[in-house]
């Protein structure tokens, strides 16, 4: 099957800055693909390369099997939902949504009907006559979505679309976006710096750092088997066990990652591996409490379920975890 979007060692340099540096990616049709990374990691530049606002310095990009280099944004069958929504302030909501159809020469009645339909799809029916300035942030976000979707793009690009929304609204929009994507069967490429968002929404996640893709995989793969210290740290939080500690525990050579919630309090039984140390601090967080312990000079953080009595700082503690919870990383 042809990939919806294919990157072959794509680089985009701005002077000496390597914004995107030798990226290989293959995004399947109908996939909800997240590009996750801190700011300046190259994820937005990758999105702009797909949209056509940037041209690669080197490498090759294909969109549904067609070469994308040199094709201007207006000849690509992809649409973008911009971070600041970029609604046209001088046009009504209906004209904003119908804009793509208008420039393609679709008749007035037809594009009106399509725009109304798109507005109904994003739960904003009857808002057509208003101006963007009269809408709230969440509503503008929906208009931006409708304006992109009305063109029936083969790939929808979303540049941190939920960044400007408050938490409640953001969670609601996450649900809606996911539902919309499944109903329409569209390919979504979603840029975010919020790992929770990426893990909960995406079918697959690419973790970006310094212009490079560090790991691509399903949210579970990324979370359970981070390939590097950066991924382990950036996606969720993780204990990084040094080669010395790994060796001392008889786990082999290398650096390992251990998720805090995989650790429990109490001596090892059966196949479990035990660690002894001294409690450094304990904090109450609600459903889960966090215990930091010093085990032979290494900080180990354990997330303990509520109800487990937390040891006092300075007390001797015994921690244990399942051998399978430990993941040896390819590169530290």
């Amino acid at each position: 099957m042809t990939a919806a979007v294919l990157f072959q060692s794509v680089s985009r340099h701005f002077g000496a800055v390597r914004a995107v540096d030798g990226v290989d990616l293959s995004i399947a049709e109908g996939e909800f693909f997240a590009m996750l990374g801190p700011s300046g990691s190259g994820k937005t530049t990758c999105l702009r390369l797909i949209a056509g606002f940037e041209q690669p310095t080197s490498g090759h990009i294909e969109i549904f099997g067609e070469t994308a280099e040199g094709v201007p944004p207006y000849r690509r069958n992809v649409n973008t939902v911009f971070q600041d929504y970029a609604l046209f302030p001088h046009l009504s909501i209906l004209d904003n949504v119908a804009y793509g159809l208008m420039v393609k020469g679709v008749g007035k009645a037809e594009r009106r009907r399509a725009a109304e339909e798109a507005l109904a799809m994003v739960a904003l029916p009857g808002y057509g006559a208003r101006k963007p300035g009269q809408l709230s942030g969440g509503q503008r976000q929906r208009v931006a979505l409708a304006r992109a979707l009305v063109n029936r793009p083969r790939v929808l690009l979303l540049d941190e679309p939920l960044g400007a929304l408050d938490l409640k609204l953001r969670e609601q929009m996450q649900e809606e976006l996911k539902t919309l994507q499944k109903t329409l069967g569209l390919t979504f490429v979603f840029v975010t710096h919020d790992q929770g968002e990426a893990l909960s929404m995406a079918d697959r996640v690419a973790v970006f750092h310094d212009g490079k893709v560090r790991q691509v995989g399903t949210p579970e793969e990324i979370y359970r088997r981070p390939r590097s210290r950066f991924v382990a740290d950036f996606v969720g939080s993780s204990n990084i066990l040094s080669p010395a500690l790994c060796a001392a525990l008889g786990l082999g050579a290398g650096t390992a990652s251990l998720r805090p919630e995989q650790i429990s309090l109490g001596p090892a039984t059966g196949d479990r591996i035990g660690l002894t140390g001294r409690a450094v601090s304990a904090s109450f967080l609600g459903p889960v409490n966090r215990l930091t312990a010093d085990c032979g000079g290494e900080r180990i953080v354990a997330a303990l379920p509520a109800g487990v009595a937390l040891p006092a700082p300075g007390a001797e503690v015994t921690l244990s975890f399942d051998r399978s919870a430990l993941h040896l990383m390819e590169d530290a």
Binding site: G52, P72, P73, D84, P132, A148
Partner: protein, 271 residues
């Protein structure tokens, strides 16, 4: 803008302000008054009588019509050139970063800061050196140098407020460069262009100094007036023409003022 009532100004300040305004505008009213005087050789006050005959005399003078047509043509063409070049320049300076951008910005504004006489002499010697005969087009070029500044200044302010992603959004939705300009950029900068264009027109219409240096045998309306003042024949005709100049330049400037006054609400509506 409606200002709230704060402390009342003292009488002396009000008087000074009133006198200042009178000083600025009374001479202009006198010009209007002498357009209707019955005495044609000297300006005596008060005028011995009032008449409308000079309007008819002016109407019948071919040299007035020639000067007026020339001025309108020059102002229109200079404004048109300024609109195109000023807008392009403003777009380049505000929408992209390039080496020497600030210098370009300064150099574009410079002609209006330079004394007109310098611009005039510079252009005159440049035209002579290049063996370009003085004509209608040399006047237009001379005027365009400062008309561009006015358009540029108006457009650049509006461009800066225009969110860059609007252009990208338009392209993303399938609009090519021309469509993006027509449907997104023009509606957002339109009023500022109209205002800039009107100011440019008004500036060109009453320009004297640069015109003296760049014109050949023709005279624009202000030049014609200057020549006319020296001759003591049918003096009130000059005053009638002055009245027309005031009207032709004042109306666009007022319109430009009202157009740009509400600009913020138009361009800032999207944020």
């Amino acid at each position: 803008m409606r200002s709230e009532h704060r402390a009342k100004a003292p009488f002396g300040l009000k008087l000074a302000a009133g006198l200042g305004l009178l000083f600025l505008h009374l001479p202009i009213l006198l010009i209007f008054l002498y357009a209707f005087t019955t005495e044609e050789k000297s300006y005596r006050f008060p005028p011995p009588g009032l008449t409308l005959e000079w309007l008819a005399v002016t109407w019948g003078r071919a040299d007035v019509w020639a000067a007026l047509t020339l001025s309108l043509k020059v102002a229109s063409l200079a404004t048109a050139i300024a609109l195109v070049l000023g807008t392009l320049c403003a777009a380049a300076v505000s929408r992209s970063a390039f080496f020497g951008r600030e210098v370009v910005s300064l150099l574009v504004i410079l002609p209006i800061a330079l004394p007109g006489i310098i611009t005039g002499i510079a252009l005159r010697s440049a035209f002579s050196m290049a063996d370009i005969p003085f004509s209608f087009f040399t006047i237009v070029l001379g005027h365009a140098t400062f008309c561009i500044v006015v358009v540029y200044n108006n457009a650049v302010a509006r461009f800066r407020r225009l969110s860059g992603s609007l252009v990208e959004a338009s392209m993303d939705l399938g609009a090519d460069g021309f469509q993006t300009f027509r449907y997104v950029i023009l509606p957002n900068i339109g009023t500022s262009l109209l205002a800039g264009g009107m100011l440019a027109f008004a500036l060109s219409f009453d320009e004297v100094i640069v015109t003296t240096f760049t014109a050949g045998q023709q005279s624009t309306l202000p030049i014609w007036m200057l020549q006319e003042l020296i001759r003591p024949r049918q003096r009130p005709v000059t005053n009638v023409v002055a009245m027309i100049v005031v009207l032709v330049t004042l109306l666009p400037i007022l319109a430009a003022f009202f157009l740009t006054r509400d600009g913020d609400s138009i361009a800032g509506g999207g944020k």
